[in-house]
């Protein structure tokens, strides 16, 4: 049976995309000193706006503003700081549709995700940390918790506003001030957030946003005026940051790449597992650091499971991200698309078998159809390297021990999934997996109360919950 869907596009009239966007420094929008660059809609390749390219001087100005604001912000009572964060949370809820549409326009992810996942989680994150601001001494970090100072924060393009909230909310709650650099390809919602800070009357300099490419991020992280570095992005850049801060006093948290194993046991609830495997790798076009990109299926149910999986993936709707029926949106950039293609070709060359969903790709924009590789061995590049796209590598196992060994055979350790109806097995396998987040009978779930972060080369530090305050506090002062 085939379903026909009428187009159901979300209106873009709710958002006004300006022709030019400038840095947000000391509470005001101001031009940079290094020109500007264009940002586009990756689903259509249409030009959206010009955005300031942050220079070393721009970063310097932002760090100075943050430093100056730190004195008052850190001395303000926790309850007053918290009220600003509550205000921000509320304005995000009020302007949620506008944020969702803008995020979809600039990122290429489906409106269904920005509307139902990203933006609600952003508001929830601010709401959660707002309540911490006057309760820091109850967070169990030690006596006299105090903020660090100015935080330099660099975030990726896969969840632009959500990553902003993971960075800014705990930093501000703890009494720090921030300079944040959004990803080069997705700066727009961060600049809309800057307007929200203005609407909330947040004191100038508490939040500063400098846009630009990797060189802007580097200038921020290496700036001698910051006390804290928070980065979400690739393991390669994470390594460079860890080297750059060597010998400094800067406290660092890194949330880096992953190659998560999603382990399906033969007693799993099959329909639920199929949905979870699909969500694990195809949610957000696979642009997810914790994506379930390695599927481990128990041999005894392999044939049946794969048949159901192919059938389900073939029903995914790829196309216009603004259409409310769309499951798979656009790849975020031409560069990312090239990387996905390169690694997929490596999969062919290493001897894996490629299966591609039967869907038409739009003529304009950056697109990659859901892809599944079988007959993958652990040494294949597609089993070891993060693809960060809608590409699943499938392997099999016979015993729980073999599944655990294969799952742990990775330099990464961000997340993992377990599918089984047996509660005791969930807990036993979860305790054996060297990964920071383990989902059982679900995948890619996030919550502001739930600490998130990796083991091994997936980075260090946690974001979310009580644990997420620790990177922004010093104790015993």
């Amino acid at each position: 049976m085939t379903f026909e869907y009428a187009d159901a596009p979300e209106s873009t009239s709710v958002v006004t995309v300006k022709s030019n966007y400038r840095h947000f420094i000391n509470g005001e929008f101001s031009a940079g000193t290094a020109g500007e660059f264009a940002t586009i809609n990756p689903a259509t390749e249409e030009h959206l706006a010009h955005v300031a390219q942050g220079s070393t001087q721009d970063v310097d100005r932002a760090v100075s503003a943050a430093r100056e604001a730190f004195t008052k912000w850190s001395a303000m009572s926790g309850s007053e700081r918290g009220k600003y964060l509550f205000r921000i949370a509320r304005i995000i809820q009020e302007r949620s549709r506008e944020l969702a549409v803008l995020e979809t326009l600039n990122n290429g992810k489906p409106i269904r995700e920005t509307r139902d996942v990203d933006i609600p989680l952003v508001a929830a994150h601010f709401f959660h940390y707002a309540g911490w601001a006057d309760k820091l001494e109850y967070a169990g970090m030690g006596p006299n918790p105090a903020p660090l100072g100015v935080a330099g924060q660099v975030i990726p393009w896969n969840f632009p506003l959500l990553m902003l909230s993971w960075k800014i909310a705990p930093a501000l709650a703890a009494g720090n001030t921030v300079v944040l650099k959004p990803a080069e390809t997705t700066p727009l919602t961060a600049l809309l957030f800057a307007e929200i800070c203005q609407q909330a009357d947040l004191p100038p300099g508490v939040v500063n946003i400098v846009t630009g490419d990797g060189s802007t991020g580097k200038a921020l992280i290496e700036h001698s005026g910051i006390d804290k570095v928070a980065f979400t992005g690739s393991t390669e850049v994470g390594r460079q940051i860890a080297q750059a801060v060597a010998g400094t006093h800067k406290k660092v948290t890194l949330e880096l790449g992953g190659k998560a194993a999603n382990i399906v046991f033969d007693d799993a609830p099959v329909d639920q597992a199929i949905e979870g495997v699909v969500n694990g790798i195809f949610f957000n076009q696979g642009h997810v650091c914790c994506a379930g990109s390695r599927l481990l299926v128990q041999e005894s149910m392999y044939d049946n499971f794969m048949e159901l999986l192919y059938a389900r993936v073939n029903t995914l709707r790829l196309g216009n991200p603004l259409d409310k029926n769309t499951d798979i949106g656009a790849i975020n950039s031409a560069a990312q698309l090239a990387k996905i293609k390169e690694l997929s070709i490596a999969g062919d060359e290493d001897g894996a078998t490629r299966w591609t969903a039967t869907c038409e790709l739009p003529a304009k924009g950056f697109w990659f159809a859901p892809t599944i590789f079988t007959e993958v061995s652990q040494s294949h590049r597609i089993a070891r390297e993060e693809i960060f796209g809608p590409v699943l590598s499938v392997m099999t196992f016979r015993t729980p021990d073999e599944a655990i060994e294969k799952a742990n055979n990775s330099p990464f350790g961000l997340s993992a999934g377990i599918w089984t109806e047996k509660g005791s097995r969930i807990l036993q396998v979860a305790s054996s997996l060297r990964a920071g987040v383990v989902w059982a009978n679900t995948f890619n779930k996030f919550d502001p109360t739930s600490p998130f972060g990796g083991y091994k080369e997936s980075g260090y530090g946690r974001e979310g919950g009580r644990h997420g305050l620790e990177p922004y506090l010093k104790v015993g002062a």
């Binding site: 929830a124 169990g140 030690g142 393991t235 994470g238 390594r239 460079q240 860890a242 080297q243 060597a246 010998g247 890194l254 880096l256 330099p411 509660g423 969930i426 807990l427 979860a430 305790s431 990964a435 920071g436 987040v437 383990v438 989902w439 059982a440 009978n441 679900t442 779930k445 919550d447 109360t449 739930s450 600490p451 998130f452 972060g453 083991y455 091994k456 080369e457 980075g459 260090y460 946690r462 919950g465 009580r466 644990h467 104790v475 015993g476």
Partner: protein, 281 residues
């Protein structure tokens, strides 16, 4: 009255629960603070360092999955055995300090083991949480050990500093490779003998004597070491170089001059695991 000639101890390395000499067959002279010769200690090589990492990695699985109660018992046993050899430790430490200072250090070191032994079954309570997520899951976060931790002892605290470094890591299930101070290594050799007779499984604690500046770069760049304690590295240029190499596999780094003690130090070598367990009928 007939005199019996002292039977001097050979100061050896401690790797995988055994006491080998350095594979390089080298040694270095140890002197007290007046410059009197005390012993020839084994001079560990980079190969000894790598062997120690292999031993530490092999011991990690069993030690990290031992029950907290068991780890606590074993660590308390270390304090018991040290207490029995208290006079020997005081004599050894006093080669570089007064008897009074040595006594204070040795008693403090024994008490540190007792303090840490009591932490094993409380870490999860104090650093873990259950998290009220807005969906039908029981969501909890628990501490787990980081893995293999390498460390370099302070030279001005030949025993207490070393005990702090080792105990703060193994309390949660990490395994360690530590390099004793090259100026004051003999208490570390005795500590190895205590650990070897205290039910600590072989490989959980590995103690090398030698020069940190020779061995440290190999441990900092080792891809199977997960954490590195640089608190005892006095040479700041070396410390920066080691922190930079540690970035290769994103080791957790305790920088020099960060005086952490107690729980903050334990947390350096902890990972947080969050599990989403489904609820439902």
């Amino acid at each position: 009255m007939s005199e019996s000639l002292d039977v001097n101890r050979t100061a050896k390395l401690f790797i995988g629960g055994k006491f080998p000499r350095s594979e390089s067959a080298r040694s270095f002279e140890v002197h007290d603070q007046e410059g009197n010769f005390l012993a020839n200690a084994s001079l560990a090589s980079r190969k000894d360092g790598r062997d120690a990492v292999v031993a530490a990695r092999s011991a990690f699985s069993a030690w990290s999955s031992a029950t907290a109660y068991n780890r606590g018992q074993v660590m308390y046993r270390v304090a018991e055995i040290m207490q029995g050899r208290r006079d020997q430790f005081i004599a050894e430490v006093s080669a570089w300090s007064s008897i009074e200072e040595a006594t204070i250090e040795v008693d403090a070191a024994i008490n540190r083991w007792v303090w840490y032994a009591g932490w094993t079954d409380k870490l999860s309570m104090v650093t873990g949480s259950n998290n009220p997520v807005a969906e039908p899951f029981f969501n909890f976060s628990i501490p787990e050990p980081t893995g293999v931790v390498a460390g370099f002892a302070l030279s001005d605290s030949p025993l207490l500093g070393l005990v702090e470094m080792i105990a703060a890591a193994i309390v949660s299930g990490n395994t360690v490779v530590v390099v004793a101070s090259d100026r004051t290594p003999l208490p570390a050799v005795s500590l190895a003998e205590v650990i070897a007779t205290s039910d600590v499984p072989g490989g959980v604690v590995n103690i090398l004597t030698g020069y940190a500046k020779e061995i440290a770069p190999w441990l900092a760049s080792h891809m199977d070491v997960n954490g590195i304690d640089l608190s005892g590295i006095g040479d700041s240029e070396l410390a920066v170089e080691l922190e930079r190499s540690s970035a290769q596999n994103l080791k957790r780094v305790l920088r020099p001059n960060t005086h952490l003690d107690g729980l903050s130090r334990v947390k350096m070598w902890l990972e947080t695991k969050t599990v989403w367990h489904p609820r439902g009928y």
